[in-house]
């Protein structure tokens, strides 16, 4: 028995190593191939796209689809790119300006109704977004914000998840750090800027990136609040493109690549923080 075990074990291990890596390899291909194929299609002429058998390798490529998109005036991709950037940058940054002070107050200061207010914020997490969708649209419309980027920057600032995330971090910062600053006569804003923010840099960057990505990729809300072609964001513009070039897959895919490329680049640059943000979300419930 022991002898047999000694012989079979290394063999079994090698087999399972092989299987694990084989399955892993297949998964890599499964997940990346659609993106690769989209990119390849965007670089091909229509006749090349419909050819059988299809070339799975990058041969016979052209940039004409990208030229086609850039030319047309009803699909101003660069303008959409600009709108998306302004909106996502503004939203992610402003969100910090409202969340940091609120989280500081809830984690560091003592005042009447603090815990009650915190419970209200907590309860609000359970409200399904679909209930807020129509009334918020009518509010934004009544304020005259529709068809301008304000409509997709300001309403999201009411979200509470950022306040929770930061409050959690601020609680973990030792009070002594602040008390030393207090001795030096630092006011509350100095304490926030000199101690709290530098100490929770990672959490703040993470929150900023999560908010940036969420705003950049948002679809339903900008779809209803922005209607002029030059006011749209990239994801909404993409659906316009799909309508304008129904069966011209090369052009549609070129549009998809232009929209996806910034997200992919940002994602690869900041993946570490992004992963952290999601894990924090998972950890919150523990």
């Amino acid at each position: 028995m022991p002898r047999k075990e000694r012989i079979s074990r290394p063999g079994r291990r090698r087999w399972s190593t092989l299987w694990v890596n084989l399955v892993g390899g297949i998964l890599v291909v499964t997940f990346l191939f659609p993106i690769y194929w989209t990119f390849l299609t965007s670089l091909r002429s229509e006749s090349e796209i419909l050819k059988w058998p299809p070339d799975l390798l990058p041969v016979n490529l052209t940039l004409s689809n990208y030229g086609e998109i850039m030319q047309r005036s009803d699909t101003p991709v660069l303008r959409w790119f600009w709108n998306s950037s302004i909106a996502a940058l503004s939203y992610a940054t402003l969100s910090l300006f409202v969340c940091v002070p609120a989280a500081y107050a809830l984690s560091r200061l003592q005042f009447k109704f603090r815990d009650l207010y915190f419970k209200v914020l907590l309860a609000s997490l359970t409200i399904p977004g679909m209930i807020l969708f129509l009334p918020n649209y009518t509010t934004v419309d009544a304020l005259g914000w529709t068809d301008s980027l304000v409509a997709i920057i300001l309403p999201g600032l009411g979200a509470t998840i950022g306040v929770f995330l930061l409050r959690q971090f601020f609680i973990g910062i030792p009070r002594e750090m602040e008390e030393a600053a207090l001795m030096d006569g630092a006011g509350v804003f100095q304490r926030i800027f000199r101690i709290i923010i530098p100490m929770s840099r990672e959490a703040i960057i993470t929150l900023w990136i999560m908010n940036f990505m969420a705003n950049w990729n948002d679809y339903l809300w900008p779809l209803v609040t922005l209607y002029s072609p030059d006011k749209r964001t990239l994801p909404v513009g993409m659906s316009t493109l799909q309508g304008a070039y129904v069966h011209y897959y090369g052009v549609i895919m070129a549009g998809a690549v232009l929209i996806a490329l910034p997200s992919i680049v940002i994602f690869l640059l900041v993946q570490r923080y992004y992963v952290k943000g999601i894990s924090i979300g998972g950890g919150l419930k523990e």
Partner: protein
């Protein structure tokens, strides 16, 4: 510690303004809207009492039929996508947690990358891959001498393609959370199970699953919330078709409120109230099941 009442309120104020205007106020407003006739541009027109809700429960009318049909579609999406995504995500997280995997980081990035894309991009990619004339799947089917399948325009394929696109798009999110959960389970528990002679399946059942309980609850509930709100994939890939068989509630609400020649904001608000209340009850039941069962386990132990 001394009280800082004024300062506290002052710091809360910027967030509170937006929280009040866009989270608390709409809760009241949606009720007002659902009991009134509400113009897309005119705003409040007149009270109609329970009329909007009455339409939803007058089962012989076509509008009630459309609403409940779309509720059924959303329910099927939830019933398929949530268990499927949870199961596949657990398997992928276990694979990624396996020390024998040589390219863990690369695989994680590959699985995670699609979550960074907008739903429009996801929809366009999968519409293209499943397109009838020149989609890759059909090219291979006809290349192998098989008949092409109209994926986007017939059932059950339209439903399946939306599920596949959703899986590809959002799996990474859940895998990351579950992987974090797996890494927190102490190795000593597995060793103890091995000493007791537990095989791989028993170790999964008795060590891995209980260890993942909290994380699983989070994954199931957040995934359910996301799937109840399914909109973009259906709107962009199948337009809700064929017929209305992939048309979820959010698309129905959107169509009623914005797309028709005579937008019906009040009626659409009534739909979102009924839908929101149902979603909330389902989530409450899920939460109860997860926490209740845990208490039972604790008593047993």
């Amino acid at each position: 510690m001394k009280r800082n009442t004024v300062l506290g309120y002052l710091l809360l104020l910027p967030h509170a303004v937006f929280f009040g205007l866009f989270v608390v106020f709409p809760l009241a407003k949606v009720l007002v809207m659902s009991f009134s006739e509400w113009g897309l541009f005119q705003g409040f027109l007149k009270w109609v009492g329970w009329e909007n809700f009455g339409v939803l429960f007058r089962f012989d009318g076509y509008r009630a039929k459309y609403f409940w049909q779309s509720m059924g579609v959303t329910a099927s999406f939830v019933a398929w996508i949530v268990p499927l995504i949870t199961l596949v995500a657990i398997l992928l997280a276990m694979l990624l947690n396996n020390p024998r995997l040589r390219f863990q980081k690369f695989l994680l990035t590959s699985i995670f990358l699609p979550t960074a894309l907008a739903v429009t991009v996801t929809a366009v990619i999968w519409r293209w891959i499943f397109s009838f004339d020149a989609g890759l799947v059909n090219l291979f089917l006809s290349g192998m001498g098989l008949e092409k399948i109209p994926w986007i325009t017939t059932m059950p394929w339209a439903f399946i393609t939306v599920v596949i696109a959703t899986l590809w798009w959002t799996l990474g999110w859940n895998v990351i959370i579950l992987l974090g959960g797996l890494q927190k389970i102490p190795e000593s528990l597995y060793d103890a199970a091995r000493v007791d002679g537990a095989n791989a399946l028993q170790r999964f059942w008795n060590v891995t699953l209980p260890g993942l309980r909290n994380v699983l609850m989070y994954v199931v509930i957040t995934q359910a919330v996301a799937t109840f709100g399914i909109f973009g994939q259906s709107q962009l890939m199948t337009s809700g078709g064929p017929g209305r068989q992939t048309l979820p509630v959010m698309l129905q609400i959107y169509n009623e409120a914005f797309n028709t020649s005579r937008p019906r904001m009040g009626y659409a608000s009534a739909m979102s109230v009924v839908f929101g209340v149902l979603v909330l009850s389902v989530l409450a039941v899920q939460y109860f099941l997860f926490t209740h069962e845990r208490k039972g386990v604790r008593h047993a132990a």
